[in-house]
Amino acid sequence: MEKLSGADMLIRALQDEGVEYLFGYPGGAVLHIYDALFNQEKIKHILVRHEQGATHMADGYARATGRTGVVLVTSGPGATNAITGIATAYMDSIPMVVISGQVQSHLIGTDSFQETDMIGVSRPVVKHSFLVKEARDIPETIKKAFFIASSGRPGPVVVDIPKDKTNPNDLFEYKYPKSVSLRSYNPSQKGHTGQIQKAVDLLLKAEKPMIYSGGGVILGEASNALTALTRKLGFPITNTLMGLGGFPGTDQQFLGMLGMHGTYEANNAMHHCDVLLAVGARFDDRITNTPSMFCPNAKIIHIDVDPASISKTIRADIPIVGDVAVILKEMTDLVNNKKSKKPDKTLISKWWDQIALWREQDCLKIKRTAEDDQIIKPQDGVKAVYEATRGEAFVTSDVGQHQMFAALYYPFDEPRKWINSGGLGTMGFGLPSAMGAQIAFPESTVVCITGEGSIQMNIQELSTCSQYELPIKIINLNNQSLGMVKQWQDMQYEGRHSHSYMDSLPDFVGLAESYGHKGFKIQSRSDLEPVLNEVFSIKDKLVFVDIMVDPKEHVYPMLVAPNGSMRDMWLEKGVRT
């Protein structure tokens, strides 16, 4: 059997795991590992400019492909810089393996140079973590890390490796395990047959049914199964911010996104439904509004791979734990079964009439006075991007108003095309996650819809984009303010804009050009279409498009809080239900 050092075993294990890209940044504790990387070509290393960027790139890669993203950082500051990205992945259940260097074993606990207790610091934001105690354990630990990160409800796994365990002079027999089993970890797979039958019976009796699906459908590769069942039943459906693309966004049965900035029809249909089918969603506080006022008349069926997500905030009447794709397929089979009752479209025709009335509200109509004809509303920007990309791009976003506008005005017909930090809401996510997606799909159009606040949180990665020639299109909806913060101050603090402006902004076009990219600035509405068409015709270069948008615009609808239900919404400034 061949003998390898810990560092070589690590790299070999990653190769054997099928890892294509490693997003990383070197430092003392990982020098042996970097030396092992130097001697091989299978794994491509992407040298980032900040470790947070590395984690978001791996995350964007994972969201776009469904494969596990991999990160390599050094101990101490390298490791702590990665924490925000690990937490971001944790909140959205993204499969990720983060390898962090650690000081030499004998120095652990002595406050030695660049020592941080990475296992401790990361503990609340990882699915699991390993501290490598023996170099010979490296292959098996890596196998376990990938298995845990990618199975069940996915999540980030940290593998912390003390420098002495990668010493090039200590050699071990290398063998990569074909599989691992952990007696304490068995992500459940199959849903309970009796519960599934009960759910189908309840759905077929519903007069005001509603389907609400989330990120679990994307992560569980269940969009086809969900679409088939939804079409078969003829029910209305809504997606969470994390679940967009789980069902085709341009389909007639789709009512748009729900929740804090959900559409009028989706939120109303949630409130008034009599049977709610929740799939791979977790009834988060940005969805339910006041939990005690949530879906007052509904029986709730909840399908999720994570039992802890069921009945956490909202009690489920029919809980079903297991792989969502498998369960949805079983449900469809039951509905198709000759013996069972057929979906009766007349039973729900009144419900669709009601939904048609809610749709007449046209809640996403852009409100514009005659004077602001040439003012670009942020919504105009998103719509123009949709047209220019024919709705086919990968779109990442940062966090703020622009994120909500992107979610509401760029419908996604496919899963994995919409990439955003929904759970943690991490500003600075947009650009690096777009890089991960672009690296995975070099031929596809990848757009980052951002704001002038968020983009500056990881703007250093523009340099990485030059190095690896990533032709991302950055759409900066520049409202010269921390728009979402300002909106809350307008609505809840009588317009006192405490530190929500963005002063001393750089010349973004000049900045992009200084990194070797192209830049455009758009200031008038009539320029949107022609300039964006030009931008998207440039296939080989990153383009930074600085779009000056109306700084006063708010995102609507918006749920009324506190003490509101899902039907209580602000529809425009000063106008509520």
């Binding site: 699991h128 039992p307 009945s311």
Partner: protein
Amino acid sequence: MRRIVSVLLENESGALSRLIGLFAQRGYNIETLTVAPTEDHTLSRLTLTTVAGDDEIEQITKQVNKLVEVVKLVDLSEGDHVERELMLIKVKAKNDQREEIKRVADIFRGQIVDVVHDAYTIQLTGTSEKIDAFVKALPQDSVAEVVRSGVLGLSRGEKALSI
């Protein structure tokens, strides 16, 4: 309601801190905690008591079960069970109080495990209530030092928590 949660845990460093961290992170309380390896040295048995309503204990057990190092978990308070706590207590016992304290210890089936001229060290096992009652029954201001093991428990009958 007071719950007794009993957990089989991989006997690995870090497993305990993960479990304790989960309680802190999610705002669950821990009243007592005891942990030691089992007859199978790859496993630890951990017993903790917490106060939680039905919904909360459901979340606690689900969240704890999700930890990769947790092999098995049971909420003992759900069914018939035996529970015990061990206390060692140092009691000031001078002159005329010596007899009285010894008598109380006898009533509670406590054992005197160390004697000096002005103090006893007493060992007592039982339910937490019995131990509380014993402490209360001692003469006022006589207690010098108390150490309690925290609750241990097993379900009644032949069913065992094992892998």
